[in-house]
C-alpha cells in the first residue's frame, strides 16, 4: 500500500479543485446536524464531525428516485421515458469508514447476479470514495465487531488519517492512485507522519469496546426463529423506520406510480420492514402481522439471511440506530441478549 499526505490547510484548495471536475459530496453542517451534500466550494465542508445524521447511501440510492416517466394522455401506443443516467464523475469526500464499508455491502444487493440495478450501479461506478478515519470513535460505534474498524479500508479509494496538522492518505485503489497523482496537494508522506498514523490507528482501534461475538450471533440465530425471544425483544419497538432509514446498509424499497394530472412516473422510495404495509398483501393477508415478526425480520435479515446470501452481516456498526432510536432499543443489547439466550425449548 502506498501513502501520501496532505496538510489540513490544503484541504479546502483540494476540494476547490475537485469541484471543478467532479460532483463532490461532503459533510455539511445544517439544521444542527451534518449531512452529505453536493458542495460547490471547499469552505462549505465541516470535517470536524462525528458522523452524518443520514448515511451517504442516499447519494446512490435516494429516498425517492424516478425509474421512468410517462404521459397518460397518449391513449395510443406506449411511451415511457427512462431518465437519462448522466455521465458524471463524482467524489464522496470525508465519508466515515463504516459508511464506505456499507457501500461494499450495498453493491452485493444492487450489483449482484443475475440482476443489476442500473440506477445505483451507474452512480456507484462513477464515484470515488475518499474516506476519513475516526480518531475518536463514538461510544455507540461497534464497527470492530462487524469486521470493520475506525480505519477500515473496505470500499474506499483513499483513506485519510488525521495526524494533527496533516492527514496521511492511504492510497487503496487505482482510482485513488489517479486522484492522488492528479492533485498536487497530495505530497509524498514523511516517515514521521507514517509512524504517527500507525499510533493514531492503534489508539482509536483499542478505544472501541466491547466487542460483540457476531459470528456466534449468526450461528445462534439459525435456531432462534421460532423463539419466544422475539416477543420480548420487540415489545418496546414503536415500529417506526428510524433505524432502517438511517441505516447505511438497509436497502428495502417500494415502487409506486405517482401521477400528477396526465403525467405519471414510476418511483422507487425507501421502504422499511418495520412498516405493516411492507408485506401486506392486497388480499389483506400479512405474513408479518406484528412488531414481533417485523423486528425479527430486521435482525434475521442483517445477521443471518444476508450472511447466508452474501457472506457478511448487513451491519457496519455505525451506531446511528442506537443513537436515534426513540425508545433506546439498542441493537448491541439485542445482540448481547441473543448471545446470552438460553434455548427455552
Amino acid at each position: 500500500m502506498k501513502e501520501v499526505e496532505i496538510a489540513k490547510t490544503d484541504v479546502v484548495s483540494l476540494l476547490d479543485n475537485l469541484v471543478r471536475d467532479y460532483k463532490v459530496f461532503a459533510p455539511v453542517g445544517q439544521n444542527s446536524f451534518v449531512t452529505f451534500q453536493e458542495i460547490h466550494s471547499g469552505s462549505e465542508v465541516s470535517l470536524d464531525y462525528i458522523n452524518s445524521k443520514k448515511p451517504p447511501k442516499e447519494i446512490f440510492f435516494p429516498q425517492a428516485e424516478r425509474l421512468f416517466s410517462y404521459d397518460l394522455s397518449k391513449r395510443e401506443g406506449w411511451r415511457i421515458e427512462e431518465p437519462a443516467l448522466k455521465e458524471q464523475q463524482s467524489i464522496i469526500f470525508g465519508i466515515r469508514p463504516c459508511d464506505a464499508r456499507s457501500l461494499v455491502l450495498l453493491d452485493k444487493v444492487f450489483d449482484g447476479k443475475p440482476y443489476q440495478d442500473p440506477y445505483y450501479t451507474k452512480k456507484r461506478k462513477d464515484t470515488s470514495i475518499i474516506a476519513l478515519g475516526c480518531n475518536q470513535p463514538c461510544s455507540t460505534c461497534f464497527c470492530t465487531s462487524l469486521g470493520g474498524g475506525p480505519f477500515s479500508q473496505d470500499g474506499s479509494d483513499l483513506l485519510l488519517v488525521d495526524i494533527g496538522e496533516k492527514y496521511t492518505v492511504q492510497v487503496l485503489t487505482e482510482k485513488g492512485e489517479r486522484l492522488a497523482k492528479e492533485h498536487n496537494e497530495f505530497k509524498q508522506a514523511e516517515p514521521r507522519s507514517l509512524s504517527l498514523m500507525q499510533d493514531t490507528i492503534k489508539t482509536a482501534e483499542s478505544s472501541i469496546k466491547p466487542k460483540i461475538d457476531v459470528q456466534r450471533v449468526i450461528e445462534k440465530l439459525d435456531s432462534m426463529f421460532d423463539d419466544h425471544f422475539w416477543d420480548l425483544v420487540s415489545e418496546k419497538c414503536l415500529g417506526c423506520a428510524i433505524c432502517t432509514y438511517l441505516c447505511p446498509t438497509c436497502h428495502c424499497f417500494d415502487i409506486t406510480d405517482e401521477v400528477m394530472g396526465q403525467s405519471g412516473e414510476r418511483v422507487r422510495t425507501w421502504d422499511s420492514c418495520a412498516f405493516p404495509s411492507f408485506t401486506l398483501e392486497a388480499s389483506g393477508v400479512n405474513p408479518r402481522p406484528a412488531n414481533k415478526e417485523r423486528y425479527r425480520q430486521r435482525i434475521m435479515h442483517k445477521f443471518n439471511y444476508f450472511v447466508a446470501n452474501h457472506g457478511m452481516a448487513a451491519c457496519v456498526g455505525c451506531g446511528r440506530c442506537i443513537k436515534e432510536c426513540p425508545v433506546n432499543l439498542d441493537i448491541r443489547v439485542v445482540l448481547d441478549s441473543i448471545l446470552n439466550h438460553q434455548d427455552a425449548r
Partner: protein, 279 residues
C-alpha cells in the same frame, strides 16, 4: 445492461371472464415489439410483473404454456388497485410486462415421473400452464401419467372450463374436479381438495406432487401428501408473497434467506422445511 425495471408493451388481445362472479378474467396479450417477444422465453411456473401506467405493477403467474402459439395469458382475480385497473381494460389497450421472473416448476425432474397436480381456486393458473406444457404432443412422451385434482368454491368458480373438459376426455390424464358447494347440476365431486386427495389417494411411487392454492388449502393438503407417502423432496409448491421489484432487491418477499421472486416462487417442501417460515 438491460434495465430490469422497464416494462415492455403488450397489447391486450382478448379478455375472457372466467367465473360466475365475474371477478376473475383471463387476458391474452401479445408483444408489440418482436425483440421483446424474442427475449421472453419462459417455462411453466414463472411469473411476470404486469403494469398499468398510472396504477402500478403487480406479479402474476403466467397461465399460458410456452407451447401455446397465441400469446401470453394471465388470469387475474380482482382484489387491489392494479387488478381492478386490469379488469377495467378493454381489448386493444396496452399494458406493460416485465419478465419472465422467478424459477419454473422442476420440468427436468418431472420427466418420466407420475405428476399429481393439486390446485385450488384462482391459484390454478401456473398449474394450467404446466398441464398444457406436459400435454403438448412433442412433450407428452417425456412425462409419465398425470393426475389433476382441482377444486373451487362452486362449479361457476372453476377456471378454464372448456379446457378442463378436453383434459377429461383424454386417457393419459386423470382429472378430478371438486367444489365446496354444488349448484345442483354439478357432476363432479363435492368436498375440499385435501379430502378429495385423500379419497383418490394417488400412489407416491415414482411420483411428484405439485401443489398450488390458497394458504389454507396448502396447510391441509401437505399432511395428506405426507401420509400418502410423498417425500418432501417430491412435493413441489408455488408460493405467493407481496412483491415489488421481482428481482430480489426490494426486500419484502423473503422466506428466510430465499426471495420468492428470485429464488422461487417454486420450492420443494424439503427446501421450505429448511427455511424459517413467514408465509
Amino acid at each position: 445492461m438491460k434495465n430490469p425495471y422497464l416494462p415492455s408493451p403488450m397489447r391486450v388481445e382478448k379478455i375472457v371472464i372466467e367465473t360466475e362472479d365475474k371477478n376473475i378474467k383471463t387476458f391474452t396479450v401479445n408483444f408489440l415489439n418482436d425483440e421483446d417477444e424474442a427475449n421472453f422465453s419462459y417455462l411453466p411456473g414463472q411469473f411476470a410483473q404486469l403494469s398499468v401506467l398510472g396504477k402500478g405493477e403487480a406479479p402474476f403467474g403466467i397461465a399460458s404454456s410456452p407451447t401455446q402459439p397465441d400469446g401470453l395469458q394471465f388470469t387475474v382475480n380482482k382484489a387491489g388497485v392494479l387488478t381492478t385497473a386490469l379488469h377495467n381494460l378493454e381489448e386493444g389497450e396496452i399494458i406493460g410486462i416485465r419478465g419472465p421472473l422467478g424459477n419454473s416448476f422442476p420440468i427436468e425432474a418431472l420427466q418420466g415421473k407420475t405428476t399429481v397436480i393439486i390446485g385450488g381456486g384462482f391459484a390454478f393458473t401456473t398449474l394450467r400452464s404446466l398441464v398444457n406444457y406436459m400435454l403438448y404432443p412433442e412433450n407428452r412422451s417425456r412425462f409419465g401419467h398425470m393426475v389433476v385434482i382441482y377444486g373451487a368454491r362452486t362449479p361457476g368458480m372453476l377456471l378454464y372450463k372448456e379446457e378442463l373438459e378436453k383434459w377429461k376426455a383424454r386417457t393419459d390424464i386423470d382429472v378430478h374436479l371438486t367444489v365446496d358447494k354444488t349448484d345442483g347440476n354439478w357432476q363432479g365431486k363435492v368436498g375440499v381438495v385435501p379430502s378429495i386427495l385423500k379419497e383418490i389417494a394417488p400412489s407416491p411411487e415414482n411420483a411428484y406432487a405439485v401443489v398450488c392454492g390458497p394458504p389454507i388449502m396448502i396447510k391441509f393438503t401437505l399432511p395428506v401428501l405426507r401420509d400418502l407417502g410423498f417425500p418432501p423432496e417430491r412435493t413441489v409448491l408455488s408460493l405467493e408473497m407481496k412483491m415489488k421489484c421481482g428481482i430480489g432487491m426490494c426486500g419484502r418477499c423473503n422466506i428466510g434467506n430465499q426471495y420468492v421472486c428470485k429464488d422461487g416462487p417454486i420450492f420443494t417442501l424439503a427446501q421450505l422445511n429448511e427455511l424459517h417460515g413467514e408465509y
